[in-house]
């Protein structure tokens, strides 16, 4: 009985901090400790969010942002895996990419944004290219490490059974590299989101980041706050979806059995 009690108390405590924060937000805004402009009340923000959903504005912005994110992210994913695998397999490719990756990976890629605008214009392509450029490096690094670390005994036993090079790649190397590659993708996706929001904020062109910046310029603070709430929700949903996808794709792997 006592254990049930403490469990309930912990659950209550855990959810209470979020609720308390929400109540404190609403209360502080209503008591006008700070002006409405600096902190619109939570209810105003939620009503605004609801209005934007009903009017379709949010869906439109969300669609644009997601389109740009996924275009860039999938380019980075495909290119990253291909480059990573070829680096691990061909010495010449490795010779070329080794210094390029080790210098390129820690660079603050966002500084290249004006160069991408110069090359690709201010519309969708520069944003997509920027997302791809920023998120390709973690995928390359993860794939490279993963394909290099594939269990040698697996490869030897497959070879002793006489598989072709292609079958070795598709049936042994890629599947056993899969968990680590997916970890790389899970690092790359949040980067894609961060970068797409920055691109939309600096270049405009609608989207969640763009409309947040427009709201800020027009001193429409409920718009800014509803924007950040929407972006936070989208971010957590995408991260969660990646976890679900991982569990689905790696259902055959040991890591799934542990749960």
């Amino acid at each position: 009985m006592e254990r049930v009690n403490t469990q309930w108390r912990r659950k209550l405590l855990r959810s209470s901090s979020v609720i308390l924060l929400a109540v404190a937000w609403e209360w502080a805004a209503r008591m006008h400790f700070v002006s409405d402009f600096l902190l619109p009340s939570l209810s105003t923000v939620l009503v605004r969010l609801f209005d934007d959903i009903v009017s379709g504005d949010l869906l439109f912005g969300l669609g644009l942002t997601m389109l740009r994110t996924f275009a860039g992210f999938s380019m980075a994913a495909v290119a990253g895996v291909v480059i990573g695998v070829t680096i691990a397999r061909f010495r010449l490719v490795r010779w070329f990419f080794d210094p390029v990756v080790s210098v390129g990976n820690p660079l603050p890629k966002i500084a290249f944004l004006p160069i991408f605008i110069l090359w690709f214009g201010v519309f969708d392509w520069s944003k997509i290219a920027m997302v791809a450029f920023s998120s390709v490096f973690p995928v390359v690094v993860a794939t490279w490490a993963a394909t290099e670390n594939v269990d040698k005994y697996l490869i030897w036993s497959a070879q002793s059974l006489g598989v072709s090079r292609r079958a070795l790649l598709w049936q042994i190397v890629l599947p056993s590299a899969m968990p680590e590659v997916f970890t790389g993708l899970q690092i790359a996706l949040p980067i894609s989101l961060i970068v797409v929001i920055i691109c939309e904020m600096t270049m405009g062109g609608e989207g969640l980041g763009g409309s947040m910046m427009t709201s800020m310029r027009f001193a429409d603070s409920p718009g800014v706050f509803s924007g950040i709430v929407a972006i936070a929700i989208v971010g957590s949903i995408l991260v969660k979806l990646m976890e679900i996808l991982r569990a689905r794709l790696l259902v055959w792997h040991q890591e799934s059995a542990r749960r």
Binding site: R10, D98, P99, L107, F112, L118, I194
Partner: protein, 248 residues
């Protein structure tokens, strides 16, 4: 030794040569990619003017206080969350709810609160770096081997000794790795916030030169910022290895 380093970094040299030759032969439009020599010349010009220095200093101040604040707040908070159940119960739902948020979305709110100056930039950087630091300190201190804590206690260590002599040293690798993440994020948010608004900083200089069409100078500043990000990471990595040398 000399030749292996040369062979290893030859690709970068080849890329630099390509960068010089391609615009000169008009394989690419020189106004879209100024040759490396023009960019280097512009860089020297910016250095002589003092533009690079003044903007660099103001960027450094934002970066230093933003990241420093995040570390000073984040590490103690993360350790406390791991040590005290109550702090954990109160703080971790909030931390976990906010963690997946794309950090750059905070910039407009910080501008709204703190204006267009340095304050909003420092706050944006600090808030963005805070969560990874908290989480690494939390995970690091939670992962401490219980037997270590027990044996320290049985030797008569008090709560404070346990914290300084056992918990922090064993959580250190994870904390330092978390801070390395934060360093990378700090550069992204620094440049993004300076590109967006303001009259100072290297990010501002990039967008100012870009809008003015002075592309050779713009490339020079982009390369400078990239180099700073790269060397910050390398220097931190070196520091991290030195600090963890006792762990083998």
């Amino acid at each position: 030794m000399g030749t292996t380093v040369f062979v290893r970094y030859l690709p970068l040299l080849l890329l630099a040569i390509l960068w010089e030759i391609a615009p000169r032969l008009h394989l690419v439009d020189p106004s879209e990619l100024p040759p490396l020599s023009a960019v280097s010349k512009a860089w020297v010009g910016l250095l002589m003017d003092g533009d690079l220095w003044t903007n660099g200093v103001s960027s450094f101040v934002n970066w230093f206080f933003g990241l420093g604040g995040a570390i000073l707040v984040g590490v103690p908070l993360g350790v406390m969350m791991a040590r005290f159940q109550v702090v954990d119960d109160v703080a971790s739902p909030v931390v976990k709810a906010l963690y997946p948020m794309p950090k750059s979305a905070l910039i407009p709110v910080m501008i709204l609160w703190l204006g267009l100056g340095a304050g909003s930039k420092i706050a944006s950087i600090g808030m963005s770096c805070l969560l990874p630091v908290i989480l690494s300190a939390y995970n690091g201190s939670r992962g401490v081997d219980h037997t270590l804590v027990w044996s320290a206690r049985s030797c008569g260590a008090n709560e404070r000794d346990v914290l300084w002599e056992v918990i922090l040293p064993s959580a250190l690798p994870e904390i330092l790795a978390g801070i390395r993440n934060a360093v990378a994020i700090s550069f992204i948010v620094l440049v993004a916030s300076e590109l967006l608004v303001g009259q100072r900083g290297l990010g501002y200089l990039i967008s100012f030169l870009g809008e003015g069409g002075v592309y050779d100078a713009m490339f020079a500043v982009v390369i400078t910022v990239s180099a700073l990000g790269f060397f910050a990471d390398r220097a931190y990595l070196y520091f991290m290895r030195r600090t963890l040398v006792w762990r083998e």
